[in-house]
Each structure stands twice: as C-alpha cells, then as structure tokens.
Amino acid sequence: MLDTSALPGRRSIGQIIGRITIYAMLLIFATYYLMPLFVMLSTSLRPLAEIKSGSIIALPREITFDAWVKAWGQACIGTKCDGLSPHFWLTLKVVVPSVIVSTVLGMINGYALTKWRFKGANLVFGLMLFGCFVPYQAILLPMAQTLGTLGISNTPLGLGLVFTLYGIPFTTLFFRNYYVSIPDDLIKAATIDGAGFFATLWYIIVPLSPPIIVVTVIWQFTGMWNDFLFGAAFSSGAGQPVIVALNNLVNTTTGVKEYNVDFAASIIAAIPTVFVYVVAGKYFIRGLTAGSVKG
C-alpha cells in the first residue's frame, strides 16, 4: 500500500486541513456506529430505576450486573423463568455440529467438483447453487413434514439437520470457488505419488484450505446462530434456539418493561458471533480475497 503521507513534497495548509477533515469525519462516523452498542452496554449495567429517570446516553451512575444475572438465569420466557442460558447451550449444541458437518461436506463437494470432475459435474454444481437461491419460506412446509416423518420434530437433531442441509449449497459454493484456483497439476502429482481421493484431500488440499475454512465457518456459524425463521418454525418451548428465546424474552411482559434485562440478553445472544469474528476475522478478509495458491 502506498503511504501518501510519506511521499516527498511540502505540506501545504490545504493538505493539513484535508487531513483534519478526514479524521473528523472518521471520528464522527465511528461514534455514530458505536452509539447503539454503547447504549446497550450502559443500559444493561444500570438499575431499572435509573433508566426511567436519566438520559440513555449518559454513563451509568451506579453499575450493577443484576440485569445480566437475570437475563442469563432468571428472566421469564413464556411461562418458564430460567433465563436465556438453557437456550444458549442448546443453540451451541445444535450449531457447532451443524457448522462442522456442513463445512466438511462442502469441502468434499467442492473438491470433487473441481478436482475429480465427472460427467455432469457442472449440472450437479448448478443444482447445488440453486439451493442457495431457494427462499427459506419455500421449504418450511416440506421440511416440517420431513422432520415429522423422521420423528425428529422439535429436537436439536431436527433443527441441526435443517441448518446442515441449508448450509451445504453455500459451503459447496465457497469451497468450489476456492479450489478452482488450486492447480490441477497438484492432484495429478499426488495421483502418481499414489494418493487416492481422500489421501489427496487430506494431505494436499486441506493444508491449503485454512482461509476458506475460516470464511465458511464464520458464515455458517453466524447464519445458524442468528437464524430466527427455522428456529421459530421447527421448535417450541425449551427447544427454541437463543434468538427465538430472546425475542420471546423481550416480548414477555409482566408488569414493567425491563430494558436493562432486554439489553443484557441481547448482548449475551450476540457474544458468540462477535467472538468468532474477533478470533477469525483477519482470516475472513484474507480468505475472501485469496486468489491463486502458488504451487
């Protein structure tokens, strides 16, 4: 990247004003975008009485974690008052295996579609792509029926199956597009060296894949974690994933609206996705822009 500030030449007044303007703009927009998070955090740390009296932008006068404790373990969702925690753990239990299975299957698909091309591979890929474009609503009824027939309605397994199936077209697309840029000669060399389909995948392809694995995992994890429609449609009661539970928690009104609990619950529900981005974010950009793998 060219560092324009390090280029030779005199600084004029105009340039300095330009700099100041740029940083001022950046500061304004950064504040603007961070404001909601700030409000959520500060409100979640206030006692309810303060929320009713004070301005929502001001810093909390008194910091209390009561709202967090309540949101995690005591808030009422529907008729049960166990907080978000059971739904949180349930969602993790559904999402983690679904992410792993759909990513692994997408990897194998992408690898087969690019490196072991068979007759009709393009057609198969086209049909899989089609899966990316099928609207969620269109598969609700057939899927409900399928889950009923399989006897796994309103179970973590059933929800995981839906997530996995719906994820495969996307993961396949990601891996396929990444593997297209890996030279075919590598596969030929491995074949002559005596490696078969899975040995080549494991020893040659997987070690080249971390960037796209990260992209896929982030994509799948956030998509599944934040899903509302499938969760609302295919589960109920204690089987609801965290986002559906959050919605119900916020909508369960018994007397006074507890904004601090609502905000704390929202942040709790968002933590895992934020965590995934923070841990793997730098690979995310790298993976999205990664081009050829030099042989």
Partner: protein, 374 residues
C-alpha cells in the same frame, strides 16, 4: 528402467481427433522427446502414458505390461510437471518422500532415499524449506528429486524447463542430460523447444495435429527432415525455403534452378546431389529447395560459377558468435549464418555458396521431402 511401446494410440475429444494413431517404440535407456507446437497432442500423449487420461484405442506397454487399465500409481512411473506441482504445504523433504510414504516405505527407507536424491541434485540445504521459499531453479530440482526418489521404470517430463529464464534453462538442460547419462533411465520428455529436443533426445518425435510427422534421431531429423513442417520447426533461424524448378544441365546433372525477381530474370542453377536417383518424372516441375542458414557460406575467392552466386546483402544481424545475413533469393528472404569476418555491410554485394550436400528438396503440394541418393 524399461521399454515403452505405444501402438496406434487414438483419442477423440468432442468430435476432434486429438491423437491420430501414434506409434512409438523405446528401448531401455532411450530419451524420447515429443516435440511440437502447442495443441499438437504431445501433452495428451504424455498424460496417457502416465495414466492421467484415458485411451480411446491402441495400447501402451511399459516393459512387458499393457498398462491401459492400470492406475497411474501402479504404473511405476514418475512425472515432472511444467508448474513443478510441488505440494505448497509440505517441506522439500516431505515433498520428495510423499510418494514413498504413500507406498508404505519405512522411515529408514525414506530417509536413505531422500539422502541419496538430495545429494544427487545438491539440494540438501533446502530440505526443510517450503516450495514458496525456493527459486525457480530450486523448485525444478525438487520436482526432479520427487521423480527420482522412487527409482521408477519410466520418467515423464512435461515441459519442465519452460518456466525458467534462459540461462537457468540451459543449466538445467545440461543437468537433465547428465542425470540421464548417469542413471540410464528411460525418459519421455515433452517440449516445444527444439533446442531441448536436439540436445537431450536420443529419439525425437515431431508432432503436429495429433500425428507424428517424423520419428528419428535428432541429427537425422535435422539433416533429413521428412517434410517442410519438420524442417521449419527444427533449427533456429529456421530453414530457408526457396521455390525452384527442376532442370538438367548439359552434363545431365539434375539442377535446382532459381529465378531471381530482377529485370533480367537471372537464373541461378544449383547442381543437386542426386546420386543415382531418377528424378526425370519431376523435370520441369516446381519444387522447394530447403537450405539451412548454416548451409550457406561465403564463396572462397576464385570459386567457380557452379553453386555460387553474387547477391546484394539486405540486412545484417550480428549475434556475437555468428552473424545472420539476409538477402533475397528467388523472391524469398533467405538467412545465412556466417562467420562475422566474412560479412560485408548491408547494401553491398557478396558471393554466396550453398553446401549442396546439405540441401533438402520438397514437393510444394504435399510438402513432403523428395529423397535424393547419397
């Protein structure tokens, strides 16, 4: 080490003939170069020998075994790719021993083989690096190491030097030649570079449009090209083709008579080394005279008229060791490779002489060589 016998191999792809009945016979220790322009089917043929592409009809035999339906892994071959195809995630050592490991060789065997090959190719200091940390020439060596380590029956090289710069290419060429001399392995080598073909091969198959145009020893192909395509493909600068008419002089010798495009329609009569060949059927017909740039010399002073002629030099291109001199002969541009001390400046006239025992004669319709006796 083994023999390789390819009989009547054919391949069609989408209605196009990719390979059109290829026959090749290699003895133990032969170095075959498949030479041709891109799209001539040479890489396809190599992939078929490797087992990476299917064979429509015909037979590939390595040693005593027909391998048409044998998996590449079991053909006991090794291949060096143009892109080197080194595994990016593995160290050099892992790259080289991967094939052994897949075949279940013990750690000790792998280490011994690695040590031997690394010594042979002088890549011992590189063993713990990854391919991305190597220069082009080093990657090339590692790719060869990966092929050598298994001591296969047959080596396949797919344009291994074309990604290297000119100097390195020359060095690696010598290296490959030295390795071949030392190991005596059977090698099939694909290239579009005629210099590689000439320097490395014990046999060259010049290919075009999925068919072998000529198969033979390099020198034979150079001296007696089977047709104008082969003649033009081998040698740089390319062979000169001059239109001429077959005539007979007073003493009954066959001559190639070239008509200059000047006002006088000057005729240049060159006596052909026809020996006992009877070309009477072609008397008076148009032919193409092929003469290599190095087959044209400056006529010594006092040379007689036969076979030498005065012409004006058009362009002079010094290359250091030799100087290329371009002049017009029979309305064609002809290049001569002369010693710098023989060259006159452009625009001046000089006396040229053809080494008539080195010329070739082609039929302009079929472009095939017309054989002349010794």
């Amino acid at each position: 080490m083994a023999t390789l016998r390819i009989s009547d191999i054919r391949k069609k792809l989408g209605g196009n003939d990719i390979l059109n009945g290829i026959n090749v016979d290699l003895e133990d220790g032969d170095f075959l170069v498949l030479l041709g322009p891109s799209g001539c089917g040479k890489s396809t043929l190599l992939n078929m020998i490797a087992g990476l592409e299917t064979i429509d009809s015909g037979e590939v035999r390595i040693g005593d075994r027909v391998v048409n339906n044998v998996h590449p892994r079991d053909r006991d071959i090794a291949m060096v790719f143009q892109s080197y195809a080194l595994y990016p995630s593995m160290t050099v050592a892992k790259n080289i021993t991967f094939g052994l490991q897949r075949r279940g060789a013990s750690k000790a065997e792998q280490a011994a083989a690695l040590d031997h090959v690394a010594g042979l190719l002088q890549i011992k200091p590189l063993l713990n690096r990854r391919p991305a940390q190597l220069s082009g020439g080093q990657r090339q060596r590692v790719a060869m190491g990966r092929a050598l380590v298994r001591d296969p029956k047959l080596f396949l090289f797919d344009e291994p030097l074309s990604n290297l710069d000119a100097k390195l290419r020359g060095e690696m060429r010598t290296e490959i030649k030295r390795l071949h001399q030392r190991l005596g392995s059977t090698i099939v080598y694909v290239t579009h570079d005629q210099v590689e073909a000439m320097t490395l091969a014990s046999h060259v198959a010049v290919m075009k449009n999925g068919a072998i145009q000529q198969y033979g020893e390099p020198q034979q192909i150079y001296e007696r090209p089977a047709n104008m395509f082969v003649a033009g493909f081998i040698g740089a600068p390319a062979m000169n083709f001059v239109p001429c008419v077959l005539t007979q002089n007073e003493s009954g010798q066959y001559c190639a008579t070239i008509t200059q495009p000047d006002d006088l329609r000057t005729k240049i009569e060159l006596v052909l080394p026809t020996g006992n060949t009877d070309l009477s059927a072609r008397l008076g017909t148009d032919l193409i005279l092929g003469i290599r740039p190095e087959g044209i010399t400056r006529a010594p002073s006092g040379a007689d008229d036969t076979g030498s002629f005065d012409l004006v030099v058009d362009v002079v291109e010094p290359t250091g060791a030799d100087t290329m001199v371009v002049f017009n002969l029979g309305s064609k541009e002809v290049t001569a490779r002369l010693s710098p001390k023989d060259v006159v400046p452009a625009g001046q006239s000089m006396r040229f002489q053809f080494k008539m025992n080195e010329v070739s004669l082609f039929d302009p319709d079929t472009t095939n060589r017309i054989e002349m006796g010794e």
